[in-house]
Amino acid sequence: MSVAPVPPSTTAQTDGALIRAEDLWRTYVMGAEEIHALRGVSFTIAPNEYVAVMGPSGSGKSTLMNLIGCLDTPSRGRYVLRGKVVSEMNDDELAAIRNREIGFVFQTFNLLPRATALHNVELPLVYAGIPKEERLAQARRALEMVDLADRMSHKPNELSGGQRQRVAVARALVMGPAILLADEPTGNLDTVTGEEIMGLFERLHAGGNTIILVTHEKDIADHAHRTIHIRDGKIESDEERRR
């Protein structure tokens, strides 16, 4: 099976790093109170790394995921993705980055219920302004990549959980993003189907993709080659796992 390789990253001052996070803070103001969800998080991620972000709920894990996914910007600190300083971008620039550089895979799949698998996968290409013919061709290729060539015209409610998550993975990969960002991708799947999805991730990683996995399950995190533990808004540990 062929896997879309990561395009070569744009030259930057990141000395080869795909992601460089420097002292990220995220503060929420609740009435008179300030809540620090992240308190100075720094790390770098190189191309084709397979990283798990772990931590209990309330640890700031989700906040970090939102920052990495460019859904949110830090209150303080610098976040550089492929040489672009995301922490200083406006809404539209963030949308463009999400479109081109981030491939989201959610716990609840988040497919559009009324759209077919093909149309769901086509969606990021629509927002990228790619012409229809090309869009359909690319979406088909992405679905073939996750072995769903025969389910293209099915709607989400006509697919099994594992198939839905594979559609979501195809949608995440269709733009050839810098990172695949998966938030509890097996959380809504049974163990067997979960392993199947993790196998797919394995293959994608072997094909050159960079994967960041957010989870609180040790078994799932063990698939990654590096694990970052978050607790109370700070990095508790960051360890490579030699294989």
């Binding site: 996914g69 859904l71 949110d72 539209d92 463009a96 988040n110 559009l112 990228a128």
Partner: protein, 413 residues
């Protein structure tokens, strides 16, 4: 995101909520269909009026003691003071109006006519000069002959009857030479005029024409006559009326500051009155429609807000996949406009059915061919206005959707 994509998304959303979408646009539907139907029906009536009124002869005009349209009692009382118009006035006009073609006179009353035991009530008895049937437009006969100058000169007791009288008295039998009783005066039938049908339910064929001299013998000479004249052609219409006015004013010794104490009426006069009346209907319709469209717009806005709330999660997903603010904004604006325009389109359909039905009913009442055409401009305007309503109603919900924070939107259950 191109417009076609936004339209596709919008259509899918509307299709998923068919009943709700239909109920939402009901206000716009009713507004649009009432305005289009009223425009169609008034236009149909206008055309019908123009046909009927102008068939009296667009070159013809009449000089009358009283105007056709009296709008108040005070006006009517004022009119009562006017001097009679005499046959000698007709002769004076004949002598002075070189822009005029035929000039004649008529007097009329409504009486019962009898033939044997058969009675025909409410017959228009007209005393006319021999050229009457040729003024403005020619009224042909089905059978017999027209009145001639000799009939008028010698006050012969002869008459031309309308088709209604023919039907009532003679049916298939020979009418010519028969004697009918007009108010106990014997009149010999010499001709039957061709049928003209009805205007607003009033028959145009229930009459007896007598020589004006015969009429005066029956009913006396102390009655104002109406002078019936025609311009030689349409271009001379104004000139002919002016020349006539000058003669009449001179004969009635009116100082030049005084207004006319007689009335010159044309088919135009009636049409003008009719059109000013329909203009009133138009204005009322527009106000009512505007109100129903505003209410319709509020309903659309409300449903669009509901639609946004229901789809917060979807908006979050779209934003995560790279939708910008303007993409979301456009998606919901297009949905709102499409929804309203759909209401407008259904309204046009409703109007077409409604005006066809009403045209059939009105046509039945007036026993005439009557059509209420749905005009292209009305259709275009209806679609345009309902789209604008949708656009305005969609701005607030769409901008709310567009400004959602993707993190919050994705968390929404």
């Amino acid at each position: 995101m191109p417009f076609s994509e936004a339209a596709r998304i919008a259509l899918a959303a509307l299709r998923a909520n068919k009943l709700r979408s239909f109920l939402t646009v009901l206000g716009i539907l009713i507004g649009v269909s009432s305005v289009v139907a009223v425009v169609a029906i008034t236009e149909g009536l206008d055309r019908y009026m123009a046909n009927q009124v102008l068939s009296l002869g667009s070159r013809s005009f009449s000089i009358q003691r009283m105007p056709d349209i009296i709008t108040s009692r005070a006006m009517w009382l004022e009119m009562q003071k006017r001097k009679d118009i005499l046959l000698s006035d007709m002769d004076a006009v004949k002598g002075a109006c070189d822009a005029c073609g035929e000039i004649g006179a008529r007097v009329q009353t409504t009486r019962t006519v009898k033939f044997g035991r058969t009675k025909q009530p409410d017959v228009e008895i007209m005393g006319v000069t021999e050229n009457f049937s040729r003024i403005g437009s020619v009224r042909d006969l089905i059978t017999g002959r027209q009145l001639i100058a000799d009939d008028v000169d010698t006050a012969r007791p002869v008459g031309v009857i309308g088709a209604d009288i023919m039907d009532a008295f003679f049916g298939q039998t020979e009418p010519l030479g028969k004697t009918i009783l007009v108010d106990s005066h014997e009149v010999r039938v010499i001709g039957v005029a061709e049928r003209k049908g009805k205007i607003f339910g009033n028959s145009q064929d229930n009459f007896v024409w007598l020589p004006i001299t015969t009429y005066r013998k029956f009913y006396g000479t102390r009655r104002s006559v109406t002078i019936q004249a025609e311009a030689r052609n349409m271009d001379l219409m104004e000139t002919a009326q002016d020349q006539t006015r000058v003669v009449m004013r001179a004969r009635r010794h009116l100082g030049f500051a005084k207004p006319d104490d007689f009335s010159i009426e044309t088919g135009e006069t009636v049409m003008d009155f009719w059109q000013s009346a329909t203009r009133g209907i138009y204005v009322v319709t527009i106000v009512v429609t505007a109100m129903s469209l505003i209410i319709g717009g509020v309903v659309v806005m409300n449903i669009m807000l509901v639609s946004v709330t229901e789809r917060v999660r979807e908006i979050g997903v779209r934003k995560a996949l790279g939708a910008r603010r303007r993409d979301i904004l456009r998606q919901f604006l297009v949905e709102s406009v499409l929804l309203s325009a759909l209401g407008g389109a259904l309204g046009i359909l409703g109007a077409a059915v409604f005006s066809m039905a009403l045209a059939a009913i009105l046509g039945g009442i007036m026993s005439a061919d009557f059509s209420a055409p749905v005009r292209l401009w009305a259709v275009t305007l209806a679609l345009f206005v309902s789209s604008v309503v949708g656009l305005v109603a969609g701005i607030y919900p769409a901008s709310r959707a567009a400004s959602l924070d993707p993190v919050v939107a994705l968390r929404n259950e």
